[in-house]
Symmetry: C2
Subunit: 239 residues, 2 copies
DNA sequence: GTCTATAAATCGATAGAC
DNA sequence: GTCTATCGATTTATAGAC
């Protein structure tokens, strides 16, 4: 399913030719990434990337067959980075509330430092671009990090969702329940997880897009409160 | 602060000349709106609007000084429509839970039917475009509709937020507290309101952007649950 | 595999005739 | 107030020499 471009980034190239190709591919991707970070996906073009690297625009087509392919690589990279940011911030062994807050903060900080990358994966879809299926696996790393924290808390008996409306089980995709089956979550707990993911992404989007201006006075403080509040809704022992 | 274009849409034109101008302005705006609804803001251009109307591109500049001005008019229109959708769906006199759910559903339905308009006001900002201050007033209509429901519930003594982390008052902008001062909300209640607005926008964004695919099985059902759950978090008597 | 050159479009904005 | 014409720039993508 993965095309050659991606395998070239993941497996060690053998011949000198392959090594050179891998290096240039990485260089193109890095330049594209710089331009994305600076101006956003709408202003990203193969030509401007070629210009920055001092090569002819046509040469880039040997490495990325189209602008969409370049975008896909950037999307995979963004998902990977936010997933790694979440995983690296986690503190296995610490109290679930600490882990929860640490991961939320890490995701926010990555997003604030990479607003265009955030927009690429969570914002309005790039017009004309359709995401290939490659992205689904890597897109799950960040959410799964949060799910793991809840699973650990549940295993320790410290996950106690507050009372409130219970999500009807038919609303959740069976495949989703299956994916989290190892943690033996109830459907309602999965629904709360989904809402927590959505909250994390959504509150950051609000902040990035200026919808909190003249609304909140201290964005970081409000974010921390949001994280705690959402954690409490899931049943984590925030007080 | 309002420029001529907007006043021309709001006040009744007097001379025949003014009437003709108002009609053509409305026609241009309608064509722009059609193109926005079809292809999104990224592919919206003054030239294509002019093409659709069969006029020279330069003629359009007599009505909208720049592409940004046209975008601003569309943004004001979108905020107005979603605000009206919310207000019209409200059922003053009915139980707060019914009103709450009705308004949430109306906002979702408007958004699903107008995804590019939703993206224009809640999605990734259009690159290079900076929103003028005209938009703040009209942007408040939808949120205020929800606030009003809570205020009425509070007045009737049926607003009882569940226990959980309390938002530190310093996190909220004083101007925001001031704006809702008439309802005598506590800072923590204002924080819950902000999160409810964010949830409504965010869960719709998730649905629109495909982040619920393979996650939820029945989007409408999950949305209703979300509305109830968020209403309960605010203290509305959802069971 | 990189280059030049080019095709075939798009766009915002302006000048100036009428 | 609408038109033609134009400036000056952008883009994706391809053809073909080397």
């Amino acid at each position: 399913m993965l095309s050659f471009r991606y395998t070239v980034l993941m497996n060690a190239p053998k011949t000198a030719r392959e090594r050179a190709r891998a290096e240039l591919t990485a260089e193109i991707l890095a330049a594209a990434r710089r331009q994305l970070a600076e101006s956003g996906s709408a202003l990203l073009s193969l030509r401007s990337v070629a210009r920055e690297l001092g090569m002819a625009s046509s040469a880039v087509y040997r490495y990325f067959a189209s602008r969409d392919d370049l975008l896909t690589a950037l999307i995979v990279q963004a998902y990977t980075e936010i997933g790694e940011a979440a995983e690296n911030a986690d503190l296995p062994g610490a109290a679930p509330e600490e882990r929860w807050l640490a991961v939320w903060r890490a995701v926010r900080e990555w997003s604030l430092a990479h607003r265009h990358e955030y927009a690429l994966i969570f914002g309005t879809p790039v017009p004309g671009y359709v995401a290939p299926h490659i992205t689904v696996e890597v897109a799950g790393r960040m959410p799964l990090t949060l799910a793991r924290i809840c699973a650990d808390a549940k295993g320790a008996g410290s996950l106690n969702p507050p009372s409130g409306p219970v999500c009807p089980p038919e609303a959740i995709e069976p495949a989703m329940l299956q994916m989290l089956a190892g943690e033996s979550f109830e459907p309602d707990e999965v629904a709360r997880l989904i809402l927590a993911w959505n909250r994390l992404v959504g509150i950051i989007g609000y902040e990035l897009h200026g919808h909190l201006q003249n609304v909140t006075a201290d964005d970081a403080l409000f974010f921390d409160h949001t994280a705690r509040s959402e954690g409490a809704d899931l049943g984590l022992p925030f007080r």
